[in-house]
Symmetry: C2
């Protein structure tokens, strides 16, 4: 913990999270596809967090943070900045506990994302689409409400919550050789590292990232965090950089980080929609894209694949562009 | 049976089908959505045949027909005419038994449908897009191969097979007030009538149909089969008319037939994709569309909703048209 300046969650925190969030999240199903097994030569086990409450695994971390608050903290509510699933999921969790939730979002964020936060009872406060505006507006919100800040991923409560996903996966599918999940800020991967390094130490952990937002890939090779400014990728959940806490887990426990092109991601996404009949986000297709790209790495292996979320704009599917 | 000229399947046939097809089909899950329950005021239980083998409930009827053949019959193979899920599913079932399957299809049928038949090992024989050409070509195929004709729905083996779906539904969700399924030729509805009239007699059975292909609705009111010539609807699995055997079940057991407009069907389809994160066909959305249209009929009721299939062209989603 020295030098990190933050509490590093332990396996006991994951176990506590599992108990704490159980009434508020789904134990999501694990699906398989004979077709995709044939195509990859691997045995794939898809952990379907797209079927999670509020449509994403982030309901786990958000619920763990919200339901771990004292009554006094809870009365002041929670706040975050996120134009993605974390904002929606924090609003969901706060709504379940009946406490206020404020999400700071650029005014340019998609209407659907604002509606989703409001749909669960949260308040959206708009900022300009710049880091300085976001920070200023967020500081105002916290000063005014005293709300507890729940970071989308660089938060021990959030990471411990995300760890419950792999805990379920390994319970449902013993004897996995590897688990692969997308990496953006690294919350899911960190939770996976935390859980598996205790209950399934031999299991390799792969992170999958878009080539066009490969900051984690380059950080992993460089040995220190590299953050890019506003990368562009269809996998829009994966644009954010690693932070100190997630970097701690990534550097210590991840076997490798694999990347895929935009085209490969979209192709994998269509393949999953078509063959598995599930709606998931582009971000969730990155793992399959990298498996298809690295067949020798996965052939003959039993691989857990985390489908991270299902919140996609049906009117703007990536293969409809142009 | 008098006057019908065909064997009418019995509940014993459904029970036999359940045993016969068990190794070849999925026991599909039943999903629920708190959001859709809130929206409709009903408790909805979605039986997900979009997750069935080959992507549709028709794998049940086709498997029952194929695996019920004698060795001598099986050696000559099976044949059908279908540009929809039945052709794909018959090919799937024949592939599982390792026997020949021929599907006669208009040359204008979507390439994806031809590919799907071939993907499971079946042979596609093309005809002109007219009834006379189809009948002539089909007669040739049968004369040449001696193949067993498996009609898409007007076949006792097929209806008994489809009946296994509701049998599973009622076992998983006891105390249903109603079951609703789409109606085209009436195979699924007939199987549902056959199963439920034996194991759950109090359960109301609703059939849901597109307004633009409402021949079953009008038949039900007129008291005799009305067949339309080439109706046009986004719910392309529901264009075919009732036949003698399915009409027998519809007239005797169906509580009512409800209809929905094209717009209502597409809206219900998007709603299911968005909130339940599953990929299903426009035809499968017709039941929810009619539930939303008739709230008083379903409010407070426990309703089984059969999602019939998930084979949709991702490049031509109905809300992308125009």
């Amino acid at each position: 913990m020295k030098g990190l300046g933050m509490y590093i969650p332990t396996f006991a925190d994951v176990e506590a999270a599992a108990v704490r969030i159980a009434p508020h999240v789904h134990r999501t199903p694990v699906l398989t596809s004979r077709f995709l097994n044939g195509l990859t030569g691997a045995e794939l086990f898809f952990k379907c967090e797209n079927l999670q409450k509020a449509g994403a695994f982030k309901a786990r971390g958000a619920s763990n943070a919200v339901f771990g608050l004292t009554e006094a903290q809870a009365a002041r509510g929670v706040a975050t900045h996120s134009s993605g699933n974390h904002g929606t999921c924090l609003s969901y969790a706060a709504g379940r506990r009946g406490i206020p939730c404020t999400v700071v979002m650029p005014r340019t964020a998609p209407q659907a994302k604002k509606d989703a936060v409001r749909g669960y009872g949260g308040r959206v406060v708009e900022c300009e689409p710049s880091t300085s505006s976001r920070e200023a507006v967020f500081a105002e919100v916290v000063a005014e409400t005293g709300a507890e800040f729940v970071h989308p991923y660089n938060d021990p409560r959030v990471i411990a919550g995300q760890g419950t996903c792999s805990l379920e996966l390994i319970a449902d599918v013993p004897e996995l050789d590897a688990v692969i999940a997308p990496i953006g800020g690294g919350g899911m991967i960190s939770g996976t590292c935390l859980a598996l390094s205790h209950v399934a130490q031999g299991v390799k952990i792969y992170a999958a990232e878009p080539e066009q937002a490969d900051d984690a890939f380059r950080s992993f090779r460089a040995g220190h965090i590299i953050a890019d400014d506003a990368p562009e990728t269809v996998a829009d959940g994966l644009k954010v950089p690693l932070k100190e806490l997630t970097w701690h887990f990534v550097r210590s426990h991840v076997t490798d980080i694999l990347t895929a092109s935009e085209e490969e991601i979209v192709e994998a996404m269509k393949l999953i929609w078509k063959r598995m009949k599930i709606v998931m986000e582009p971000s969730s297709a990155v793992p399959l894209a990298t498996i298809l790209k690295n067949p020798d790495l996965f052939r003959g292996q039993r691989v857990g694949v985390i489908i991270t979320g299902g919140n996609v704009d049906l009117d703007k599917l990536p293969w409809m562009r142009g």
